[in-house]
């Protein structure tokens, strides 16, 4: 009888903790939309998302709230980080699962775990004092750039991409590999033509999740991208400074007076939230479809 009660209590607690996660997400969403949506509708979704000028505290005339340059900035930096992180991460994952001897695998995995533990501010500071001058002196520009943000984010995305792709590669049935090797394929052939295609969906999911994480990252990016709310000029110039949506919120939230300015920052949050949610949904879809086809 007592045992039943305690069991019920534990169950209730577990249920409460499960529900609380959902509840927190819902509450945050409600709050975000309550604060930002009225402004979004008033100012116009179109002119907000595609507006080119951000000038919330105008000296003369009307303030402008266009976040298009920041959407571009966020996407650029996230995509740029993948350019560095995907080849490195994938290579590392293949090495870990297929090639590395156990002692080396353990060592590398420990290193990757340490990488996760580095606070983003520390990475940002590292970027500010080392990477930015390095880019300025070797590639030109001011150093505060899309490139700098991408490299820092790549370092942060690397552990996630490695661990998810490594899981995907590990999940490829051992028989596939044995069959390939038995047919006389070399190790590299097997990796390229059997293992990678079979784990394709998991790797793709890792990439998309990595992109979602990168878009949401703030502190490190804020310190090295220069934060100018304008488009790169010309558009493909990765040495130009940009501002990301996250940086926009963090930089101005302290000061934004209640009213349009603050609501515009919440609206920025809504756009960001939507983008990350869509990326997560895509990655889940990819993972699911791959599970069905892969086995």
């Amino acid at each position: 009888m007592i045992r039943k009660n305690s069991e019920r209590m534990i169950e209730a607690f577990l249920f409460a903790s499960a529900v609380s996660a959902v509840l927190i997400v819902v509450l945050i969403m409600v709050f975000l939309f309550k604060e930002g949506a009225p402004f979004l509708l008033k100012y116009g979704i179109h002119s907000f998302c595609l507006g080119m000028e951000w000038n919330p505290i105008a000296m003369d005339g009307e303030p402008a709230y266009g976040i298009f340059p920041m959407i571009v900035g966020s996407v650029y930096i996230a995509a740029g980080s993948l350019v560095f992180a995907v080849p490195l991460g994938l290579g590392c994952a293949i090495f870990l699962v297929e090639i590395a001897p156990p002692w080396m695998e353990a060592m590398i995995r420990r290193g990757i775990e340490l990488l996760v533990g580095i606070p983003s501010v520390v990475l940002g500071f590292f970027g500010l004092v080392l990477l930015v001058p390095l880019i300025r002196d070797s590639a030109g520009g001011f150093g505060f750039s899309i490139l700098a943000g991408s490299v820092i984010l790549a370092i942060m995305a690397l552990p996630h991409i490695i661990s998810i792709s490594a899981d995907a590669i590990t999940a490829v049935p051992e028989t596939y590999k044995q069959a390939s090797l038995a047919l006389g394929a070399t190790r590299w052939h097997t990796i390229r033509n059997v293992i990678l295609p079979a784990s394709r969906s998991g790797i793709l999911a890792a990439v998309i999740l990595g992109m979602g994480n990168s878009i949401g990252e703030t502190m490190a990016v804020l310190m090295v991208t220069g934060n100018s709310p304008i488009l790169p000029e010309p558009l493909y110039d990765v040495l130009d400074p940009v501002r990301t949506m996250t940086a926009n919120i963090v930089i101005e939230m302290n000061y934004a007076a209640p009213g349009d300015h603050r609501q515009a920052l919440f609206a920025t949050g809504i756009v960001l939230f939507m983008m990350v949610a869509i990326l997560n949904a895509i990655s889940r879809r990819v993972l699911k479809s791959g599970m069905g086809a892969g086995r």
Binding site: L128, R243, Y255
Partner: protein
């Protein structure tokens, strides 16, 4: 036996949950309570039971926080709540009675004094904003015209202002920053121009200093207290940004930090203001990199 262990374990767990709930509810109610404290403060005369609410400029925040901490140590039983929110918030909050003292790192706007003629400003500190470059930069002197040219984006090469042939990296602070506001008031507003969008934006004095110290092409501006050997402050129209020149108003880019009360301060507000303006308070002002007012 086993049963008992399970029970006691689950009891421990529920205790932890209860504890967590208690902490959460306390923090929730705690923030609610603060709203009720200012009523008592208006009528209370004894300094042992001071209750004050202070909010506003994040520039003034370190002064207000440190003064509040030491004031509370000196007057056990007194409670002073300090929060940020920005200058505009500080002015609004003190005007509508949400807080007892509002903090602002800029002068009251005419719209604010118009709507709330009762507000009384008390200057508590001065601050100058120095234009800074990399120590290796040969430029030591700029005119206001040149500075305006650089910050509006019409002058883009150091050679145009007597330096080496290299692009100027304009570094500025984020919209809403008190330091930026002070700079704009003196440099940009008289010519009704906005700071160029091409500039790098850093969101604190510390990062601004690190940025300027890290690039020989950079120009930036810093609150006076943050100047050190990593960067060089340049003369503006021949006048050096020093404490003395800020105090006698000969240096152009300066501001006063204010604490604002609704009407003349009552006894508790006066006690706190006296403390801020007294020796210890002004020492704190200096400690957090501002210029004492007297």
């Amino acid at each position: 036996m086993e049963l008992q262990i399970i029970i006691s374990k689950s009891l421990v767990r529920t205790n932890i949950i209860l504890l967590m709930l208690a902490v959460i509810s306390m923090s929730l109610f705690g923030s609610g309570c603060i709203d009720n404290t200012n009523n008592g403060a208006k009528t209370d005369d004894s300094l042992t039971d001071v209750k004050l609410q202070i909010a506003g400029s994040t520039t003034v925040l370190p002064i207000a926080e440190e003064c509040a901490r030491i004031f509370m140590e000196n007057h056990p039983g007194s409670r002073i709540f300090v929060s940020g929110g920005g200058s505009s918030h500080g002015v609004m909050a003190v005007a509508d009675g949400t807080v007892d003292i509002g903090c602002a790192s800029r002068d009251l706007k005419s719209s604010e004094t118009g709507a709330h003629p009762n507000l009384v400003s008390h200057g508590i500190a001065k601050d100058g904003v120095a234009v800074t470059v990399h120590p290796s930069n040969p430029v030591t002197d700029l005119t206001m015209e040149q500075l305006r040219g650089i910050y509006t984006g019409t002058i883009t090469n150091w050679a145009d202002v007597g330096g080496t042939d290299s692009r100027i990296m304009v570094v500025t602070r984020e919209e809403g920053s008190g330091t930026r506001d002070c700079f704009e008031q003196a440099v940009m507003i008289p010519i009704k121009a906005e700071i160029t969008d091409i500039g790098i934006i850093q969101d604190s004095n510390g990062k601004m200093r690190a940025t300027v110290a890290g690039s020989d092409q950079a120009i930036g501006f810093l609150s006076l207290g943050y100047i050190n050997s990593d960067v060089r402050a340049i003369r503006l129209d021949g006048i050096e940004p020093t404490v003395k020149n800020v105090l006698d108003d000969s240096y152009a880019i300066s501001r006063t930090l204010w604490m604002i009360t609704n009407g003349n301060p009552d006894s508790t507000e006066q006690a706190f203001l006296d403390f801020v303006l007294g020796d210890k308070g002004q020492e704190i002002v200096e400690d957090v990199h501002f210029i004492p007012i007297n």
